[in-house]
């Protein structure tokens, strides 16, 4: 691999790389605002300026400049090299570049930082970006100087409504145009643009438009400062109190990699952030996915219920066992869920096997809208995983929900053990009333309403879970918060039911379940966090 020299380090690069991209891959951070690895190069923030050393034996290209001399109290003639933006500079073999070691680059960055903060309002205490703001980080790292301007700062429009999800603050904006480029290049919707220049530069909406495409929250995500804020997250939490856990978005079958940001003090999830994964979602997530975290706390079933009345989980499990006992095992059916993790589905499949149940059905959320960027039409996070597991465990693919309705109608099903909260075929739902239904549900809904015995299953954020996306990639979503209310992971509830029924399953702990699962469904890429995720944390 060809290399170039950055400060004192050899940096490897691929032909066609820019200096900043190659440096970032090697773990060397060149400060930048406008450059984003997933977007085109704008080179407008001038923070990544570096000094390119002349070839051996050649004189440096120097510019004549006037420099203020403190001793003389006047400007004097000086010479300095022409600096280059590292984001636009193509890497070449043998190039010698000075970044932190170049006094000119260091001086230039301090000057850029001073200009960017020139008209910046004193907003940190009320700004959502505080704590993950580039302006704050870079001021301390690259400037550290006090304000010199004596004048009142220039005041600009604040809290401009950009659309259903985004609020814009022109005073905080550094006009790096990341949001403009994101909309243009990733979404293909030229809804944002920049007007004016210098102090007056600001981001504006296209006339008659709102920022209302399906990826608006990404504009907030790429914003390196607090200019764009999400209406959803605005004034909800301070980021330094939040902890992050790696997760997989449950909004559709794409399985975008995300961070679940939660507050450990009140066990509340406040937002998702995309996690870089070049094989799945690159750097992005859609609005539906970004807001999908809300389901973790909304419409949750937090207690067991017996015919709609609250009950203890243990009593409910006993009641479920007594409901199942009189039914002949040929008449028992299980209903798997495409929205639950492979662990939960596997537990139910193992119970079916232990009880000798052969009727297997599966359902999930109905299809929705999709696009060719990230969003999948299939809104179930684990359809591929469930189909594969059922095949491997019982040797047959599960039938759909409509078939379950028909089976109940014809009397071949006498009781249903159901996992999940939503079904993809409404007419068959009413037929469920004819038989006892034991449901392991996370959310209130039609299935939960029809359950004879309802058991509170915890959501994906409350347990480790494996999900297989539409492309067949198996990915693990980690536990962020503790199970809410009386809820427990569905596999644990199934385990409880098994013991009430007097059957043993081949696992008793999460670890055993993990082993059974990996034997049943070998992972195509275990752990499944392809290369590139290491840099995701830097992409705040």
């Amino acid at each position: 691999m060809p290399t170039f020299l950055l400060d004192d380090r050899e940096i490897e690069f691929n032909p066609g790389d820019t200096v900043i991209a190659a440096a970032e891959r090697s773990g060397v951070d060149i400060p930048h605002y406008c450059w984003h690895p997933g977007l085109s190069t704008a080179a407008n923030c001038r923070m990544c300026l570096v000094e390119v050393m002349p070839p051996e034996g050649r004189p440096a290209l120097l510019l004549d400049v006037l420099k203020y001399d403190d001793e003389k109290g006047d400007y004097v003639l000086a010479r300095k090299p022409k600096l280059q933006p590292a984001c636009q500079l193509a890497a070449a073999p043998g190039l010698r570049i000075k970044s932190q070691t170049s006094e000119h680059a260091v001086e230039a960055r301090a000057a850029v930082q001073e200009f960017l903060l020139l008209n910046h309002p004193v907003d940190c205490p009320i700004c959502d970006q505080a704590g993950e703001c580039r302006l704050q980080d870079y001021w301390l790292e690259h400037s550290g100087k006090k304000k010199r301007m004596k004048d009142e700062i220039l005041h600009r429009p604040k809290a401009v409504d950009f659309g259903p999800t985004i609020v814009y603050d022109a005073e905080r904006c550094i006009v790096c145009t990341r949001c403009v480029r994101f909309c243009d290049e990733v979404v293909g919707d030229h809804v944002l643009d920049k007007r004016e220049r210098g102090n007056l530069g600001e981001i504006v909406l296209a006339p008659g438009r709102q920022l209302d495409h399906a990826y608006t929250l990404m504009t907030e995500h790429v914003c390196p400062v607090g200019a764009l804020t999400s209406k959803d997250f605005r004034f909800k939490a301070r980021v330094w109190f939040l902890r992050s856990e790696r997760s997989v978005c449950q909004g559709c079958a794409t399985g975008c990699n995300s961070y679940t940001d939660y507050d450990p003090r009140n066990e509340t999830v406040y937002r998702y952030r995309p996690r870089e994964n070049q094989a799945v979602n690159k750097y992005w997530m859609c609005d539906d996915g970004m807001l999908d975290y809300r389901r973790i706390h909304e419409h949750r079933i937090l207690n067991a219920k017996l015919s709609g009345k609250k009950s203890g989980v243990d009593d409910a499990l006993g009641e479920a066992a007594s409901k199942l006992a009189p039914v002949a095992k040929e008449k028992l059916a299980i209903l798997l869920s495409f929205t639950h993790s492979s662990e939960d589905n596997l537990a139910l499949l193992e119970l079916a096997r232990a009880l000798g149940i052969s009727q297997t059905y599966a359902t999930g959320r109905p299809n929705g809208t999709g696009d060719n960027i990230l969003r999948s039409v299939d809104k179930n996070s684990n359809r591929a995983g469930v189909l594969q597991l059922a095949e491997a465990t019982l040797g047959a693919a599960p039938l759909d929900f409509q078939s379950l309705g028909r089976a109940i109608e014809s009397g071949t099903v006498g009781a249903v053990l159901a996992l999940g909260s939503e079904v993809d075929d409404a007419p068959a739902l009413d037929l469920l009333r004819r038989v006892p239904v034991i449901a392991f549900s996370t959310f209130e809904g039609e299935l939960a309403q029809r359950a004879t015995v309802l058991l509170p299953a915890s959501s994906w954020a409350e347990a480790d879970g494996t999900f297989v996306n539409a492309a067949g990639l198996s990915q693990v979503s980690k536990k962020a918060i503790e199970p809410q209310g009386d809820s427990a992971p569905a596999w644990r509830l199934v385990l409880g039911l098994a013991s009430k029924l007097g059957v043993t399953l081949p696992f008793a702990k999460a670890k055993d379940l993990e082993k059974v699962l990996s034997a049943r469904a070998p992972r195509s890429s275990a752990g499944s966090v392809p290369a590139g995720q290491a840099t995701a944390e830097a992409q705040a």
Partner: protein
């Protein structure tokens, strides 16, 4: 009740021959702080003793690992609560060593004056308590009065008499007050005159001298091998004083002597504290002379020093600086450092490990008292039980420093 058997000869009475176990502490009026002595007595002499120090456990070192570096200051205050300023300065200097910064000269002299005042307060407490425990109540009251004069200065400067939390990484919380020099110049002679009165009162007293002289002996080798430092080591004749051996702040530029003892008994340990207070007064006198009236007290480094409040409220640069230091904590470069200063009772060391974040990765304290107290066993074995009191007093165990 049965009548005594008067016919029994006194020689025939069987006296118990097995040693008697006496337990003192861990919570006992005779013990300063929580320490426990289990003594095996043969008659009145101590055959064996088991000194157990670890009863006070606040988890000082662990507590330090959860806040920021600046939030450690209140904790070190409470390690030695009779000379907290020395601990404050010691910890601040450890952090500064890690950062590679040096505080302005004005701050260095300020730290020296406050530190020496704290040392006087420490020694006054020790000497006064020692006298009181041997029955001399008057000198204790006089010395506490002298200590109060010093604490008045502390209160004036820091706002708190005891737990000042006045040190800062890169300087002090506030510059000296306007009347500081005048105040110090007025108080130090008063303290010295009280000292000489106490000297006259105690050092002509047979009972007091008899109870200290030749009691609690330890050889210089033993003291060194136990890790003793400070007045107790110097009483054993070893002239080790961090201020002289490895000068820090401006100790290399002021004149003072390191008093040493000759007999290494309780009396030497008592007298050496008197001599050290006189040396402290010399240091203070010279430092007050050199303390500039104007000039910065804190380093000019945005990484560690909080900006002025009015700037925080009006400019974004100062707001960011404030935010970074308060919310994330000032950051020490990744690495480790051992920094040591002369505390009230010997070498006060801080071993810091930083992972580069705003929170300490590890703070290890080398408190002088913990090691000195460990030698109690050595000096009271073989002594009479009544000697425990002067021996223990002369070591000046500060419970807070023995936190394990």
């Amino acid at each position: 009740m049965e009548p005594l058997d008067l016919e029994l000869e006194a020689t025939e009475i069987e006296l118990p021959v097995e040693p008697m176990l006496v337990n003192v502490g861990p919570s006992h009026p005779a013990m300063h702080g929580t320490v426990r002595c289990v003594m095996e007595l043969s008659g009145e002499s101590i055959e064996h003793v088991d000194v157990q120090v670890g009863f006070l456990h606040r988890g000082f070192e662990k507590m330090c690992e959860r806040g920021t570096w600046s939030q450690v200051f209140p904790y070190v205050d409470r390690c030695n609560y009779v000379s907290p300023m020395l601990n404050n300065v010691g910890f601040a200097m450890a952090c500064e060593k890690m950062l590679g910064i040096e505080v302005p000269v004005r701050c260095q002299y300020y730290r020296m004056i406050l530190g020496e005042l704290a040392r006087m307060s420490d020694h006054l407490t020790c000497a006064g308590a020692m006298a009181m425990e041997l029955g001399a109540f008057t000198p204790f009251l006089w010395m506490v009065k002298a200590r109060d004069l010093i604490w008045d200065i502390m209160e004036e400067e820091t706002g708190a008499r005891l737990t000042h939390s006045f040190g800062r990484v890169g300087g002090m919380a506030k510059p000296p007050t306007d009347g500081f020099k005048e105040h110090v110049r007025a108080v130090v002679p008063q303290v010295l005159s009280i000292l000489s009165e106490c000297e006259r009162l105690l050092l002509g007293n047979r009972i007091f001298l008899d109870r200290l002289e030749g009691v609690g002996l330890i050889s210089a080798e033993d003291a060194i091998s136990l890790g003793w430092t400070g007045p107790c080591l110097r009483a054993a004749g070893v002239p080790y004083d961090v201020r002289k051996a490895h000068p820090y702040l401006k100790y290399g530029e002021v004149e003072f002597d390191v008093p040493v003892g000759t007999n290494s008994d309780c009396l030497d340990r008592f007298l050496i504290r008197f001599d050290e207070m006189k040396q402290s007064a010399r240091i203070i006198e010279q430092s007050v002379e050199r303390l500039a009236d104007q000039g910065p007290i804190n380093v000019d480094d945005p990484r560690v020093i909080l900006p002025e409040k009015h700037e925080v409220y009006s400019t974004i640069e100062a707001t960011i600086q404030h935010f970074k230091i308060v919310m994330e904590g000032l950051k020490l470069p990744a690495g480790e450092v051992y920094s040591y200063t002369e505390g009230g009772n010997g070498e006060l060391g801080f071993y810091l490990v930083s992972d580069g974040s705003g929170t300490p990765y590890r703070v290890r304290i080398r408190p002088p008292c913990f090691l000195v107290t460990a030698g109690l066993e050595r000096i009271i074995t073989g002594q009479m039980i009544a000697d425990v009191v002067p021996c223990f007093g002369s070591l000046n165990m500060i419970g807070g420093e023995c936190d394990r």
